[in-house]
C-alpha cells in the first residue's frame, strides 16, 4: 500500500470540526440527517477539484456544505425563527474569515521548564496571534525567575488557505419541515506536496 496524506479528513474535516466545536460548544456536528435536538450542524462533503497539477504535488479545492438546523416552533416570526439562524451563520462566516489562512490552535506561553504562564488573577494566559517576544536589544523575554518564555506549540502546521463561505441560503428543510435551515457552501484550498 502506498503512503498518502489523508487530506480531506485531516486538513479539512478535522480542522473545520475543531474550530466549529470550539466556537459553538453546545451545537453538535453530524454527518447524517438524523433529526435530533433543537439545533445541530450537518456536514455534507461535496467535492474535491484539482486546481493545479505539479510534478511533486497538487493544489486542490475542497467543497463541503454546512447546514445549520434549528427546530421550528409555533408560528413563524422573524424574531423567533430567523434572527438566531442569521446570527449563527454570521458568526460562522466570521469564524471562517479569521481562519482563512490556517488553523491557529490556541497558543500558550510556557516557561523553559514546561510551566504555563498565569496572570496575577490566576487566569491562564493564551494568545491568538503568534507574537515575537524580544527585548529592545534582541534578548529573550525572561520571567522574573530567569526562565525563557516561549509560545507553545513551537510550529504552526499548514492546513489550508483561501478558506471561505461562498453562499448562504435560508430555507425550511424539505425532508423534515419541523426544522429551519441555514445552509452555507464552504470552500478551502490545500496545497499538497508528495514526499
Amino acid at each position: 500500500m502506498i503512503t498518502f496524506n489523508r487530506t480531506y479528513n485531516q486538513n479539512v474535516l478535522d480542522n473545520l470540526s475543531l474550530i466549529i466545536q470550539q466556537e459553538f460548544e453546545n451545537i453538535p456536528i453530524r454527518f447524517d440527517s438524523t433529526f435530533r435536538g433543537n439545533a445541530f450542524f450537518q456536514f455534507i462533503p461535496q467535492s474535491d477539484e484539482l486546481i493545479e497539477l505539479r510534478t511533486d504535488g497538487a493544489i486542490r479545492e475542497y467543497g463541503l456544505q454546512i447546514k445549520y438546523y434549528e427546530k421550528n416552533y409555533g408560528l413563524y416570526t422573524k424574531r423567533r425563527n430567523l434572527d438566531n439562524r442569521v446570527k449563527v451563520i454570521e458568526r460562522l462566516k466570521e469564524l471562517i474569515r479569521i481562519n482563512t489562512a490556517s488553523i491557529v490552535d490556541i497558543l500558550f506561553f510556557q516557561t523553559s521548564d514546561g510551566k504555563n504562564l498565569f496572570t496575577n488573577d490566576g487566569d491562564q494566559f493564551t494568545i491568538f496571534r503568534r507574537p515575537l517576544l524580544v527585548t529592545s536589544d534582541d534578548a529573550f523575554f525572561i520571567t522574573s525567575d530567569s526562565l525563557a518564555l516561549a509560545p507553545k506549540p513551537e510550529e504552526i502546521e499548514y492546513d489550508w488557505h483561501n478558506t471561505r463561505l461562498e453562499s448562504v441560503v435560508y430555507e425550511q428543510d424539505e425532508e423534515n419541515q419541523k426544522y429551519l435551515v441555514g445552509s452555507v457552501d464552504f470552500r478551502c484550498v490545500v496545497e499538497e506536496v508528495y514526499a
Binding site: P45, Q46, D48, L50
Partner: protein, 147 residues
C-alpha cells in the same frame, strides 16, 4: 485492406489504469457495466467519458482521455454516517496519490500517458435508485496521451 492503428484508449489508458488500480487496491474488483449492476460489498466501476483532441500536428496528436471511476461501498448503517464518509475519503485520497505518483506513466519504459490526474471528485454524484444501496463517489481520471 484495413489500415493499421493502435487501440490507444485500451492500450494506453484503460488497461494500464486497471492494472495500476489492481496493484494498489488488490482486493477491489473493477467492473465496466454500462448499466449499474451490484457486485458485492465494494467495487469500482469504470465509465469512459471523454477522448478529446488537444493538439494536432501533421504527424501526431495529443489527446486528453477521461474515465469516471465510481466507488461503490456497502456500509454498515447509514451511508452518510461520519465514519463512512471518512473511510470513503481515505480511499479517494489514496487514489489521488496513486495517480499522482504515476502522473507520467511509463511502466517498463513503455510510454502510456502523461499528466495523469484525478481532476475532480464528487461525494454526492447523481445515482440511480438501485445504486442508492451503496455509498458512491465519482473520481474523474484524466490523462494526456501523445498518439
Amino acid at each position: 485492406m484495413p489500415i493499421l492503428f493502435t487501440e490507444v484508449f485500451k492500450d494506453n489508458v484503460l488497461d494500464p489504469l486497471i492494472s495500476l488500480l489492481h496493484t494498489e487496491f488488490t482486493k477491489v474488483p473493477v467492473h465496466h457495466d454500462v448499466e449499474f449492476k451490484p457486485h458485492g460489498s465494494f467495487f469500482l466501476r469504470m465509465i469512459p467519458i471523454a477522448d478529446n483532441i488537444v493538439e494536432q500536428t501533421t504527424e501526431d496528436q495529443i489527446r486528453n482521455y477521461g474515465i469516471m471511476i465510481r466507488f461503490y461501498r456497502k456500509t454498515p448503517g447509514r451511508v452518510d454516517r461520519e465514519d463512512n464518509f471518512r473511510q470513503l475519503m481515505n480511499y479517494t485520497d489514496r487514489l489521488k496519490r496513486l495517480i499522482g505518483n504515476n502522473s507520467n506513466y511509463s511502466p517498463s519504459s513503455t510510454y502510456k500517458w502523461h499528466d495523469g490526474r484525478i481532476s475532480s471528485i464528487s461525494f454526492q454524484p447523481d445515482i440511480d435508485e438501485d445504486e442508492a444501496q451503496y455509498q458512491c463517489a465519482d473520481a474523474l481520471f484524466e490523462c494526456t496521451v501523445l498518439v
